[in-house]
Symmetry: C2
């Protein structure tokens, strides 16, 4: 099933800017190093959803539209660089994550780790990281740079935490949400808030958008974690069951362990401990269906989505506001 | 053999500051994440030579002493943070390098990669990187931050280049020096120049020290590469033959390939292509001894050391200047 809402439509108010992001990204990353260039071209040959730069552009746009007619737009090239920097930082984390998770597919392509090996993946990830940081620095906004650094620290922290909790069958929902908040939501929150700061939004505007991004991020990651169980691989563009195989507990499984009858719980635990077998994954899938824990998780995602929506009430009606509103529906309906 | 020059003596003019670096470093890296904290404590439990923070402190000190009596010192805590940031950035590259090189030992301890696996090594390296960058930002010097970013990019570039050239038996000395300049010398140059900038040295002073750092770095890395063949493992603190085993060609081997008789050259090439066997390493060592390519490489190191020394002529005599002078001898004599 395709989502009923197309991302292209949602992006309409920032259409020309978002279309230019891939070129700006490659411009920032240009290097005379042929191997680095090859890996970068490969990685960015399949664009993702560009959610992070889109949030940055929307953050700037909703603030501009909220100021009413005559509002001055932020410097265009600075805004584009900022938006691209988030995409590059995100790419850096993906390239490193795919080593950490031993993932095979990313955007329907073999991961850098699979194609070039972990050494190149480590170093190219580092290079992307350096270039992203440099681009943040070049916005000349101390506030944005500081906000980004804090976020980058939180992302690492969340990822290390996630790794540490692998195979921890006692992981609670609170632990899970703490990890999600750090590894995913913190960055999405930073993206939109930084856009608002660059457009000289008030602290209230930036704060509301930062919270929007945080709730949006939590909803987004819960849905992502559900897709690991229920997605269609060719649409999702990632290996299914990747979290499960890597020993990462996500909400559908945490909930299953909470509510399953003792015998089923034992089955899950035994399967999880020998989780390299595909047949075991099928068994887990059946239990997840029986106990309806994906709908349970999606209900939590909907609740966060509603909280995100409430943060938009500060803003007067505008195309950007409507897009940010619809983005919340998209995230719940998406299948990739 | 122990070096005749002790690093402690050379560090005397910056003694109290360099002794405080480990604590400042751990302070910057403090995190409530228990696993990250554990890895960080482990990694920094064995201090390295603290060369990078020492160069930063000397850069500031030689500039201060050059200004003569009454010169104002740079803000102490800012200088310490800057010096520690270089050590942290260096640590980040080491943790990632040890994944790339599959090295077993670092500072006489099993590497993070060996002890915790590549996943943790990737993420903790990223965390160190983020914290280092943050500390550079906090110096509030745009010049230093920009200089650092440029350097961090060069370091990645050099490392990717080195990886790409593995097993390239046609690697020239020019290629080798280009890689060294980027992966090692650029950072050492940045360390001392940043110290000079923070102490408000003139562009001439900062420039001369930057060049000192660059030549120093080239000499340092050549010696390091020689120690990979001739060092004593327990003194060197790293696995011997690590470059060789990883397929990295360094000066003694490049020179050997240049000058060896055809039959010996074939032996080297055949051995290098099946370089996992220790007996082959012994054979290479014998040829390196026969053709005297380590003394050849060390002569190049001495030449760079002399160039570095010449850059100090801009400065009036002072304890810091004498230390920077002696550091050049130390580097040539060191065995770890």
């Amino acid at each position: 099933m395709n989502p009923t809402i197309a991302l292209e439509e949602i992006y309409a108010p920032i259409e020309s800017a978002i279309q230019a992001i891939p070129d700006v990204t490659l411009g920032i990353l240009a290097t005379p190093n042929p191997l680095a260039q090859e890996v970068i071209q490969y990685f960015f040959s399949e664009q993702g959803k560009l959610l992070r730069p889109a949030l940055t552009l929307f953050g700037a746009e909703i603030v501009r539209q909220n100021k009413g007619p005559g509002a001055v737009s932020p410097d265009k090239s600075n805004l584009m660089r900022l938006a691209a920097a988030f995409e590059i930082f995100h790419a850096a984390t993906l390239v490193h994550d795919d080593i950490v998770d031993s993932a095979y597919l990313r955007r329907n392509l073999p991961t850098v780790n699979v194609r070039w090996g972990p050494q190149i993946a480590v170093l190219v990830g580092d290079y992307l990281h350096v270039r992203a940081v440099e681009a943040f620095f070049e916005t000349k906004s101390e506030k944005i740079a500081a906000r980004f650094m804090e976020t980058a620290g939180a992302v690492c922290d969340g990822e290390i935490r996630e790794l540490r909790e692998k195979y921890n069958l006692n992981l609670t929902q609170a632990d899970y949400f703490d990890i999600l908040g750090k590894k995913t939501a913190s960055l999405l929150s930073c993206c939109i808030e930084a856009g608002a700061i660059l457009a000289e939004g008030s602290p209230e505007e930036a704060g509301a958008l930062g919270r929007y991004g945080r709730y949006f991020g939590l909803a987004f990651q819960i849905v992502d974690d559900c897709l690991d169980f229920t997605g269609e691989e060719h649409e999702f563009g990632k290996t299914l069951g990747a979290d499960y195989t890597a020993g990462v507990l996500t909400l559908p499984l945490i909930r299953l362990l909470e509510i399953a009858r003792p015998r089923d719980r034992e089955t899950v635990i035994a399967a999880f401990k020998s989780n390299k077998e595909l047949s075991k994954f099928q068994m887990i899938l059946e239990l997840i269906r029986e106990y309806q824990t994906v709908p349970y998780a999606l209900a939590q995602a909907r609740a966060f989505s509603a909280k995100a929506r409430a943060e938009l009430s500060l803003f007067s009606d505008s195309p950007a506001k409507r897009s940010l509103d619809r983005l919340l529906d998209y995230v719940l309906e998406r299948n990739r």
